[in-house]
């Protein structure tokens, strides 16, 4: 259990307070190291072995030759510091190594030493370091204090994205036997059982059956949660948390009601019972690809025509930006629809052409704001035009609730803050980091609660939902303040009469 810590005091969102540096404040924060049992099934060495330094540098060289992003980002940072006050973990912890440029420099200093003439000739002058065990430990701790949210890259004059560097660092650490338990255990479960949760098919079927009963009891309409149905039009791939946690599960029922009301046949899949792809968190292309191919296989097996993803942030980045690369081409699907689609694109389209009807009174008394998920905002898109990832969720929420207000403009859309638990950090031993990292978002939330009477915050990502459920009470809010976007749709949708 983590040591006690103080919940950060929230300031005024308008002031954009930047903390004074607290050197080493989070030096001890680190997630559990993966055991051999979590490493080996993914093809990684079980433990750190003799000669790891050389192996790590070899792997770094390989990544530099395979990823233009990494090679270019290593060279071009001028240390201007535009990113220094942009990371939620820095703002929340004041640890200077959580400033993006300082985090990158943990990696860059080693790159310089082994891959640049200046670093070989004059390491002191350019801040080049040998890769020692101390440096590796520092990597482990601080590259697990980055949620790969890409906020720093928005403000970097060269677009340097610390996420790319964190991913590379984690991949190097995996390759020498210093992996992270949380991510690697979960990836192992995906390969073995089919989803992050480790939810076996019989348990999934039982859960869905229970939810169907609930929906029928509540609405009087037999809304179904079909699974492994051959020949369905749509394959819905959603994070397994949607089958398990609150408020995720309320969103799942929302998707089901939308499909029901629209009269579109759909199915879940036991094979592809996970939208999330933790292969991205650990920066491993092959893992990411292997996880993605399950979706291809499920789509082929079930003979579906379209693939739609449920609410999940990093999943949507992998799905939108990478799925075509990793598991395409999708020429066997209906070419009239983008592959994949987001459930919010689907629902928004139905709302705008009156394919479903919503009654806002279903959410009476609620005042909503929305948390833009980092990887949806800056790593993906929805709809046909840039920025659709901001307008579409808002359109769906506004159609479902009586009152909606946005949080401070510096904290939404492309400038949104991470919830504090993204990128493979949603694990209990990092709770201090998660609470402190959520402070910038909590500050903006507090502002609209006080000024506009906001009662609920909608989220469109399984991690955001779980993270907020956990950390909202630290800031004096009810944990049920966070809701799924499709939970709001679920409360407002008119079922039954379909014409």
């Amino acid at each position: 259990m983590a040591a006690p810590f103080d919940t950060p005091e929230l300031g005024n969102v308008e002031e954009r307070r930047i903390p004074a540096l607290k050197v080493g404040a989070m030096a001890e924060s680190k997630p559990y190291v993966a055991a051999a049992a979590h490493q080996e099934p993914l093809g990684f060495p079980g433990v750190l072995e003799e000669g790891w330094e050389k192996k790590a540098i070899g792997h770094m060289g390989e990544l530099l030759s395979k990823y233009r992003s990494l090679q270019v980002f290593m060279d071009i940072c001028v240390k201007c510091g535009a990113c220094t006050d942009k990371c939620h973990y820095f703002l929340g912890t004041a640890d200077p190594k959580n400033m993006p440029v300082a985090r990158q420099d943990l990696f860059r200093s080693v790159y310089r030493r082994y891959f640049t003439p200046m670093g070989k000739i004059a390491p002191n002058l350019v801040g080049a370091r040998d890769l020692t065990k101390d440096v590796l430990d520092e990597w482990y701790n601080y590259f697990h204090q980055c949620s790969q949210c890409r906020r720093c890259s928005v403000f970097c004059p060269y677009g340097i994205d610390t996420a790319e560097i964190s991913m590379a660092a984690r991949d190097i650490m995996d390759s020498i036997g210093q992996g992270q338990k949380y991510c690697n255990e979960i990836i192992g479960k995906v390969h073995k059982i089919g989803n992050n949760l480790g939810l076996p098919a019989p348990a999934l079927l039982d859960t869905l059956e229970g939810l169907e009963e609930d929906m029928e009891a509540e609405t009087g309409v037999a809304v179904k949660l079909p699974i492994d149905v051959h020949g369905a039009e749509v394959l819905l791939v959603t994070p397994s948390a949607d089958f398990f946690a609150e408020p995720h599960i309320l969103g799942l029922m929302g998707y089901a009601k939308v499909f029901h009301a629209a009269g579109v046949s759909w199915t879940l899949s036991t094979l592809a019972s996970e939208a999330g792809n933790f292969g991205m968190f650990i920066g491993n292309y092959e893992q990411m690809r292997k996880i993605s191919l399950r979706i291809r296989e499920a789509a082929l097996q079930l003979g579906v025509k379209r693939i739609i993803f449920g609410e999940c942030g990093h999943a949507w980045r992998v799905a939108y930006s990478f799925l075509n690369t990793l598991a395409g081409p999708w020429d066997f699907l209906d070419p009239r629809y983008p592959v994949p689609q987001h459930i919010l694109e689907f629902t928004n389209d139905l709302i705008s052409r009156k394919g479903i009807k919503l009654d806002k009174s279903g959410n009476d008394g609620m005042v909503l704001t929305v948390h833009d998920s980092c990887n949806v905002a800056r790593g993906a898109r929805m709809g046909d035009t840039p920025g659709g990832q901001f307008t579409i969720p808002r359109a769906v929420i506004q159609a479902s609730v009586p009152k909606f207000v946005d949080m401070h403009p510096d904290t939404i859309c492309e400038k949104t803050f991470c919830c504090g638990g993204g990128g493979g950090l949603l694990t209990d031993e990092l709770i201090e980091l998660r609470v402190k990292g959520s402070a910038p978002r909590m500050e903006a939330l507090k502002d609209v609660v006080e000024r506009e009477g906001v009662t609920h915050m909608a989220a469109m990502c399984a991690i955001c939902k779980a993270q907020f459920t956990k950390i909202l009470p630290y800031f004096g809010h009810d944990r049920e303040m966070v809701v799924s976007v499709h939970q709001l749709v679920s409360n407002a949708i008119i079922l039954g009469d379909n014409d």
Binding site: M1, Y32, K181, Y182, E185, I186, K189, N195, N196, L197, G198, L199, P200, P202, A203, D206, T207, G210, L211, D214, P239, S240, A241, F243, F244, A245, E246, H248, I249, G276, C312, L426, D428, E429, C461, A462, I463, K465, A466, K470, R479, E480
Partner: protein, 110 residues
């Protein structure tokens, strides 16, 4: 880490979840709960027993919703909600109750 009950040392992971679910017994549950700052009451046992039954059938802990429904059935509708479960297990019914029941920790975005 490890627990010691009745003279036997029982292996657990870094967070105190049992490595081997078969190591579990009622005394051990009491001790895990004590470490978590919880004194087990009959209400806690209702939850723990349900979790173990569910796990025996499905090899996973039930969704929170499934748990609340089962508790409502057993203990009355006023107890079948998240708030009540959080009162019993302040660190979250999912994780804390699973730990006491000797089940593995639910993983993923939960």
């Amino acid at each position: 880490m490890a627990y010691t009950t009745n003279g036997a040392s029982i292996e657990a992971d870094e967070e105190g979840f049992l490595i081997n679910i078969n190591d579990w017994n009622e005394d051990l549950a009491g001790q895990i709960a004590k470490d978590e700052g919880i004194a087990l009451t009959p209400e806690h046992w209702e939850v723990v027993n349900f979790l173990r039954e569910y796990y025996a059938e499905y090899q996973i802990a039930p969704a929170v919703r499934v748990l609340t429904k089962a508790i409502a059935k057993k203990m009355g509708p006023d107890k079948g909600n998240n708030k009540y479960l959080y009162e019993l297990f302040p660190y979250g019914p999912g994780k804390q109750a699973c730990k006491i029941a000797g089940l593995p920790k639910p993983t993923g975005c939960v």
